[in-house]
């Protein structure tokens, strides 16, 4: 099975202290460290596990700049067969639909049976997967938390829905799935693995190589624009408990019971 995983590099939330920039519409990017978006990492792991069972190849693609090679290498160190960087100045400022358009162009150059995305990017809107499937006219399922390959170009997938319940579906290939974190336990990649793939060339694609009309992507074509970015002021809702441990435990029980959490 040929699997494509769309991945993205994001500032690592656990390793950064996010500060607003002076304009107040974005975060300060100096001194940030980045990593692959967590859900995308689960998607790559899932793709690797599928390929380990049924054979095939895993390609990881990202739309971005030179710095994004870092996450491609990390995923290649995990075992992905290919990493592909789609990069062009014309792409900067794309909204979700723009990214989906770019990815669609890339997908159509290849021959993929299955396309995976993370359920959402840490700073994103969980839109690309759905839009990509619509543009490609592929079936789509979101919040997928297990995948089983069936005979006859079908998958059996389960989705997590409200309240932790699960829903089982059969879905035809080719399709797009957005992968929930927790679907597997991604393997560890250390420096050693990354060094081992350090010199593997990473092909890049530009707008013209993908035959993309620059006017349908990038900032100019974006219909969703970020106008502000702020950290909400701490609201009232929080109540600090100041008693000793027993009192606090009693109080918590009371509060939870009052909200109907204990029956």
């Amino acid at each position: 099975m040929e699997i494509l995983v769309c991945a993205r590099r994001v500032p690592d939330t656990s390793e950064n202290e996010i500060e607003l920039n002076s304009a107040g519409n974005d975060i300060e990017h100096d001194e940030l460290v980045y990593s692959i978006n967590e859900a995308d990492n689960y998607a790559v792991e899932e793709a690797l596990q599928i390929v380990a069972r049924v054979g095939g190849n895993v390609t990881v693609v990202t739309v971005g700049g030179e710095g994004d090679e870092e996450v491609l290498r990390r995923e290649m160190a995990m075992g992905a067969n290919h990493g592909v960087l789609i990069t062009d100045d014309a792409f900067s400022g794309s909204d979700g639909r723009g990214i989906a358009t770019i990815l669609k162009a890339f997908v159509q150059k290849g021959n993929y049976d299955l396309i995976l995305t993370g359920v959402q990017a840490e700073a994103g809107g969980a839109q690309v997967g759905g839009m990509l499937s619509a543009l490609l006219d592929y079936p789509f399922a979101s919040l997928v938390n297990s995948i089983e390959v069936l005979d006859g170009r079908k998958l059996k997938i389960s989705r997590e829905i409200e309240g932790g319940n699960k829903e089982l579906h059969e879905i035809d290939l080719p399709c797009v799935l957005s992968i929930q974190t927790g679907i597997n336990e991604p393997r560890y990649v250390g420096m050693r693995g990354i060094r081992a793939v350090a010199s593997v060339p990473i092909p890049t694609f530009s707008a013209s190589e993908l035959a993309l009309d620059p006017s349908v992507v990038g900032e100019a074509a974006a219909k969703v624009k970020r106008v502000d970015y702020f950290v909400p002021a701490l609201g009232k809702g929080a109540e600090m408990l100041h008693g000793n441990r027993e009192e606090n435990v009693d109080r918590v029980l009371e509060l939870v019971a009052a909200k109907g959490g204990l029956k």
Binding site: S14, E15, N16, E17, V33, P186, G190, M191, R195
Partner: protein
């Protein structure tokens, strides 16, 4: 054969069996040689492990731990029994060989043991055989009736070894009886034939048997003599050939195991012996994944384990119900080796060990505290094996999710918390603190003679920053020209390495070593025993490093540090030895000397202290790992302090502090028990009055 007793001389009684005896000799020796050769097969396929250096140091280990049985008295009953049996075996070895040879050469006398010396030797060995026999009786009774808990085999680790143990003990008892009967029948025969009688030691087993045989007829004596010889010979060879299949192979291997034992404490074996750090990237596979990835010495360890259970009896992971018992790391590997390297047929199959004989949790459960190795009478090594197994798992990407985040953060930020590098020195740079105790950051034009290596937890953890500040104040009080690396410092990597991430460790080490060298400092001090161990053993070519407790102790001795008397005189203190200060680096007395120098400080010892200290739960990455356990190590440790009658636990390690303070809360002992770091206590008690003007 039976007619042999008609011969006039006792020494001729064996003559008719000579061919039989010789055949058994040849068969026994051949079998043993074959078995040993087969047992050596995996060792020849194993990883290399150069242990041929420093023969004198190794011989002195042999004298202390093998001949001197140094570790044995740590377990009084079993230890005493073992020392007696061991001494008996050593004494009886010559006698046993003499007896064996007599079967084919009647008048053989071991050179040096003719005449008077021989008589004395015989008397000593009469008693030795008796003592060994009695020890066997006691040992069997212990196994069957008193059943010390540490011999039990938990179900998940396989079947009990009791039958095997008792069988082997019984065989030794039979050997002693056969030997004694042989001597007794001979003496009885000699006396009946009016020949000079070999004197048997009064009240020894041979002597008692001789008394019993005194009235037996000569033919009977002849048969007994012949039979005893045969029994002795068969039992001897049976034991020799059977031991390599069970828990007593150590009788043969222990001498080698001790001779080749690891010489340096606190160190780890490299990923591959003989491969320099620069060439590590070219090594295809890291760590132990299959049995053949162990080194030959580690395989010898497996053969040598006597199944005594002392390692696991002292293992904190085992004590709190984690799925790890070091004894079975060895036993399971040995069982695997016996199964996959059989006596006949093809050997080895290169199966993965993890998921097959070991579980992942089992291998991650170890805190590398070293209690097992400290206890093992045979100097079996565990930490290197566990780290090698972890290296294998890391190499396969098989790392618990709980550890992946901190490892990633260590890679990108140089600390497991993912905090910003520029905040690493915030603990020292707070204005109020800078006013009382200015701490230089070396490198930015500033230099210092003494470098204080802080390490991650003390730099970033709010509670542990107090250890950093008090350490700085102590150095300041001593008038040291000291500084820190600040943002240029990264995690020492001590646990990174012990968790099997060698490549990341090497990157951290190279970075720090560069920064340390660039600082121009001539000495290093740290208050973190893990950093201390890393800098001392894992780093190369950096200035000498001391733990702050060593600095304080020597300054107390030199009279440069004086203490005010404690205000609260009702507190009872106990000192908890951090594993990486105590066991791994043998710093036991300095912290205690410092405590004892504080006027009014009442100190008690916990039962498990010094080299038997009980790990608080482990440091570094172990704080992130979520073990499967029934209880926390720290809670057990705090209970031990309660049992010792203490209400303040002093330690000298920030990780111990995390674990012990947590444990005090979990145990519900808040207000009744507290913990304090040695540096904090010293800083609090130090007498700071200005020197009187003359």
């Amino acid at each position: 054969m039976v007619g042999s007793y008609l011969l006039a001389q006792v020494t001729d009684w064996l003559a008719s069996g000579r061919n039989l005896f010789l055949a058994i000799h040849v068969l026994g020796v051949a079998c043993f040689a074959y078995i040993v050769a087969r047992r050596l097969v995996p060792l020849l396929r194993a990883e290399r492990d150069p242990r041929w250096d420093r023969p004198l140091a190794r011989l002195s280990k042999v004298c202390k731990f093998w001949l001197g049985q140094w570790k044995h008295p740590r377990y009084k009953t079993a230890g005493t029994l073992h020392i007696l049996i061991f001494a008996g075996f050593i004494l009886l070895a010559t006698r046993a060989f003499t007896v064996l040879i007599v079967g084919v050469s009647e008048n053989f006398v071991m050179p040096g043991l003719s005449g008077e010396a021989g008589h004395i030797y015989n008397i000593i060995t009469d008693y030795a055989a008796t003592v060994v026999f009695l020890c066997m009786v006691v040992a069997v009774i212990r196994r069957l009736i008193f059943k010390p808990g540490r011999y039990e085999v938990p179900e998940r680790f396989g079947k009990t070894h009791k039958a095997d143990a008792v069988f082997l003990l019984a065989l030794i008892a039979i050997l002693m009886v056969a030997d004694s009967l042989f001597a007794a029948a001979k003496a009885a025969g000699q006396s009946q034939q009016g020949q000079p009688v070999e004197f048997l030691a009064v009240l020894s087993l041979p002597w008692l048997l001789q008394v019993a045989l005194a009235s037996a007829s000569l033919p009977t004596l002849g048969n007994v003599y012949f039979g005893a010889y045969l029994l002795h010979e068969i039992t001897f060879y049976f034991l020799l050939c059977y031991r390599p299949f069970g828990i007593q192979f150590h009788v043969e291997t222990s001498l080698f195991n001790v001779y080749f034992a690891k010489l340096e404490r606190g160190t780890l074996k490299p990923v591959k012996w003989g491969v320099s750090d620069e060439r590590l990237d070219q090594v295809k596979s890291f760590g132990v994944k299959t049995y053949e990835d162990f080194t030959w010495k580690h395989m010898l360890d497996f053969y040598s384990c006597a199944d005594c259970g002392r390692c696991s009896d002292n293992c904190p992971a085992n004590a709190v119900g984690r799925p790890l018992s070091p004894r079975f790391i060895g036993i399971k590997a040995r069982d695997y080796a016996y199964q996959h390297y059989p006596m006949f047929g093809r050997s080895g199959n290169g199966k993965a060990l993890i998921g097959n004989i070991y579980s992942e949790d089992e291998i991650w459960s170890c805190t590398t505290c070293g209690a097992c190795e400290e206890e093992c009478p045979l100097l079996v090594e565990y930490i290197d094996k566990i780290v090698d197994l972890r290296r294998g798992m890391v190499d396969d990407g098989n790392v618990p999710q709980s550890l992946q985040k901190p490892l990633k953060a260590l890679e990108s930020r140089g600390n497991p918390y993912g905090k910003m590098e520029k905040k690493r020195a915030d603990w020292a740079n707070a204005k109020e603190f800078q006013q009382v105790c200015p701490v230089k950051t070396v490198g930015k034009g500033d230099s210092a003679d003494l470098l204080y290596f802080v390490d991650s937890i003390t730099s970033y953890d709010d509670r542990m920053q107090s250890i950093g500040r008090t350490t700085a104040r102590i150095l300041d009080h001593l008038g040291e020209n000291f500084g820190i690396l600040g943002a240029a410092e990264k995690d020492s990597g001590h646990e990174v390495r012990r968790f099997g991430e060698e490549t990341l460790f090497a990157a951290l080490r190279d970075h720090n070593a560069g920064a340390i060298k660039a600082s121009g400092a001539k000495r290093i001090v740290t208050a973190d025993p893990h950093a201390f161990n890393a800098l001392k053993h894992d780093y190369k070519d950096i200035p000498p490093v001391q733990h702050i407790s060593q600095v304080i102790a020597s300054e107390v001795k030199a009279g440069k540090i004086k203490f005010n008397a404690l205000e609260n005189k009702t507190n009872v203190y106990t000192y908890h030895d951090p594993c990486y200060l105590g066991r791994h680096n043998q710093v036991y007395d300095d912290p205690r000397d410092v405590l004892d120098a504080i006027p009014g400080l009442k100190r008690v010892e916990m039962t498990r202290s010094k080299d038997r200290s009980f790990c608080c739960g482990g440091g570094g990455l172990m704080l992130f790992y979520e073990p499967k356990e029934e209880e926390r190590m720290g809670v057990k440790r705090v209970q031990m302090a309660v049992n010792a009658g203490a209400n303040v636990i002093v330690t000298a390690c920030p990780f111990c502090m995390v674990n012990i303070e947590d444990a005090i809360k979990v145990a519900g002992l808040e207000g009744k028990m507290s913990a304090i770091d040695l540096a904090e206590l010293v800083d609090q008690q130090i007498a700071r009055e200005e020197p009187q003007a003359a």
